[in-house]
Amino acid sequence: MSDQPLISIVDDDESAREAIAGLVRSLGFVVAEFESAADFLKSDHLSRTACLIADVRMPGMTGPELHNYLTAAGTPIPAVLITAYPDEAAHARALKPGVRCYLAKPLDPDELLACIRSAIGDGNKGFQ
């Protein structure tokens, strides 16, 4: 399974994180879960992550901040930002190069799958 693209999920809400992880796994990907951006940055999954799914609102570093940080550090990871409070302004701000999607919770599985596929590129399709 090590050739499967790794999807890292960063969300401080435990139940939301587990639910999303379960869904992404059911879509056929390998998943790593992190409670905070700091935990993710510390982990050795960082370099292996093909796509990052991060919550927009988190204590400490937020999803968009994490994405910016990675880009600035020269290790950009395509990201899918998710939020329970979709709003246009935040959406516009969040959509930067490398941010594939900005999705509202609850996530639509097909939409999420399309976003992840677009993030990791056609060469690394998950299987359904």
């Binding site: 435990e14 139940s15 639910a19 379960g22 059911s26 609102r57 988190m58 204590p59």
Partner: protein
């Protein structure tokens, strides 16, 4: 960088589940509770509360100590003026008739304005006593006109038909004896007010009718006096000197003034009563000068001095009443704007409440949908993965329970008990809150210090809501210290009685402290530095404390962390408004 204490952690901590949601149930109580309680009350009861309904009126608000002092000052000045004038009282001042119209005009304006002021008061308070008093002033003011017009030698140059010798004195007697009778009627009526306050007819009609009646009577009396001079009592022996008969007029007047003073003294309740007593004292001094010290000699030093003093103090009284009215009006305006602000705050918190409920229920619902989607996909595979599907279903169960807890919490907050105001022992609430989070504290290695004032007076409020506030602040404090590793995690909760009579509760932590930029904003709705709360916690705490007549604020703790403090008016505090907001 960010302070986790700015919101309470709502989920996944039983100890604080619902620390914030629903705290705003206070607004609904403010409106609905009042109606429920008063719906069954009969009119008589509400009538008897009339005075407390209108606490800002001259005729209902009690005089302050400084007003009492001012009244005494006015009287002292008058008495000394009397003493200074006394030796010269009988010195005649010839050719001073020309000053009389000026005096009359001033006295007329003075008394009519006073009357108008009292009529305005009547239109608000509907007190018959005040109506009677204003009629008295109007009558007295109106009668000044014929008094001056008939005064011998004043208007001779205008070619007015010469009135009889007794006209002026008769009018003076009517004014002199009429006015104290009106005051007496006021004093006797004012306590009987509530029962007869419910009078029929519109206020406008009553006022206009009264004014028309007084004018008619004043005209009628003047007409009678001027045309039937020969039928009048012989008050004057000539144009300047009074007869023996006149002696009874000032004597009766003095008797009436003294009676009025006694009645007012024993029944003094309001600012108006106080200044009416000053008026009666003034009239007493005036009559002493006019009729005794100057022996009734018209246009003598004593006669003029009496009128001047009387007029001056009447003006002082009028000015005081006017300024009191303005002051009371300002107080009223402040009260109204405070009430408006409170209502706006209540609306905001209602909006915040619905947003918060939406959020709290949405969060587990979203997870349930996502878990269900995952479960469907595991089952929909060619070889269904039952283990994964089972795991997804278990998560749905957990989320369902979580949503249920949210709803249960909301129900608890809206239960009757949450809105009832009773005497609350804050120390006990603090103890309870600290006990309920024992588990949390042990896991996080937080050291708790409680410094509670044993003598802390009770406060009036909702124990449920106040409990939530404390739980919320304690939860915030514990959260704020989770990131602390290099020093002790100390949670210090204190309660103390302040000199002002209100109680002060403080919750200190040794956490990461507050970003100065964020300090102002943490009480705003929707402000949060967490993702699992919406920033409702502190806003709710603040609205609960403010609804209880207190204040909540935050400062930095030394050397680390933050201190949240709130005050509440205690039951011992005479200026407490906590009760007033809900009754």
């Amino acid at each position: 960088m960010r302070h986790p204490a700015s919101t309470a952690r709502l989920e996944s901590k039983d100890c604080f589940a619902f620390a914030c949601v629903g705290l705003t149930s206070s607004p609904s109580k403010l409106e609905f509770g009042w109606n429920d309680r008063d719906a069954g009350e009969n009119d008589v009861k509400s009538m008897s509360d009339a005075k407390s309904d209108l606490p800002f009126l001259l005729s209902t608000s009690p005089p302050s100590r400084s007003q009492g002092r001012l009244a005494v000052c006015v009287l002292l000045v008058l008495v000394s003026a009397l003493l200074v004038t006394a030796p010269f009282a009988r010195v005649p001042l010839t050719n001073t008739e020309v000053l009389l119209p000026a005096y009359a005009a001033a006295a007329f304006v003075n008394e009519v304005i006073t009357s108008a002021l009292l009529l305005a008061l009547y239109s608000v308070q509907r007190s018959q006593a005040v109506l009677v008093l204003s009629i008295g002033y109007l009558f007295s003011g109106l009668m000044v006109v014929p008094w001056a017009l008939t005064f011998p030698g004043v208007f001779a140059s205008l070619g007015l038909p010469d009135a009889g010798l007794q006209s002026t004195a008769s009018i003076a007697a009517l004014r002199r004896l009429g006015f104290p009778l009106f005051v007496l009627a006021y004093a006797l009526l004012k306590d009987a007010d509530p029962s007869i306050r419910n009078s029929h007819g519109s206020v406008r009609g009553i006022i206009l009718g009264s004014i028309a009646g007084v004018i008619t009577i004043a005209f009628g009396l003047t007409w009678l006096i001027v045309t039937r001079d020969d039928a009048l009592p012989r008050f004057m022996s000539d144009a300047r000197n009074v007869s023996e008969l006149w002696r009874y007029v000032p004597a009766t007047a003095v008797f009436l003034y003294l009676t009025g003073l006694v009645v007012l003294w024993t029944r003094e309740r309001s600012v108006l009563d106080l200044w009416l007593m000053v008026v009666l004292c003034t009239l007493l001094i005036e009559i002493i000068l006019l009729s005794y010290l100057s022996a009734g000699l018209r246009l003598s030093v004593g006669w003029w001095a009496g009128r001047l003093y009387g007029f001056t103090s009447a003006s002082v009284v009028l000015l005081v009443l006017l300024s009191e009215t303005a002051t009371l009006y300002a107080r009223l305006a402040r009260a109204v704007s405070a009430e408006r602000r409170a209502r706006e705050a209540r609306l905001t918190s209602m909006e915040a409440l619905s947003a918060s409920i939406a959020h709290e229920v949405n969060q587990p619902l979203a997870s349930m949908v996502t878990n269900a989607d995952a479960g469907l996909r595991w089952l929909g595979r060619q070889s269904p993965n039952l283990n994964e599907a089972q795991a997804a279903l278990s998560r749905i169960v957990g989320d369902g329970h979580r949503a249920g807890k949210v709803i249960e919490g909301i129900r608890t907050m809206f239960e009757k008990g949450a809105q009832e105001r009773v005497s609350v022992n804050m120390n006990r609430l603090i103890d309870e809150a600290l006990r309920r989070c024992q588990g949390e504290v042990q896991v996080d290695h937080v050291y708790i210090q409680a410094e509670l004032d044993e003598q802390l007076p009770l406060v009036t409020g909702s124990p449920v809501q106040l409990q939530q506030v404390i739980s919320n602040l304690v939860a915030n404090a514990i959260d704020a210290m989770t990131a602390v590793t290099d020093r002790e995690r100390v949670l210090r909760v204190k309660s103390a009685l302040q000199e002002s009579g209100s109680i002060l509760v403080s919750v200190e932590d040794s956490g990461t402290g507050l970003d100065p930029k964020l300090k102002e904003r943490i009480f705003e709705p929707f402000f949060t530095t967490r993702s699992d709360g919406m920033g409702m916690g502190l806003m709710f705490c603040q609205s609960v404390i403010e609804a209880h007549g207190g204040r909540l604020w935050v400062t930095d703790n030394e050397p680390h962390g933050a201190v949240f403090r709130f005050t509440l008016p205690s039951d011992d505090d005479p200026t407490s408004t906590a009760g007033a907001t809900v009754r």
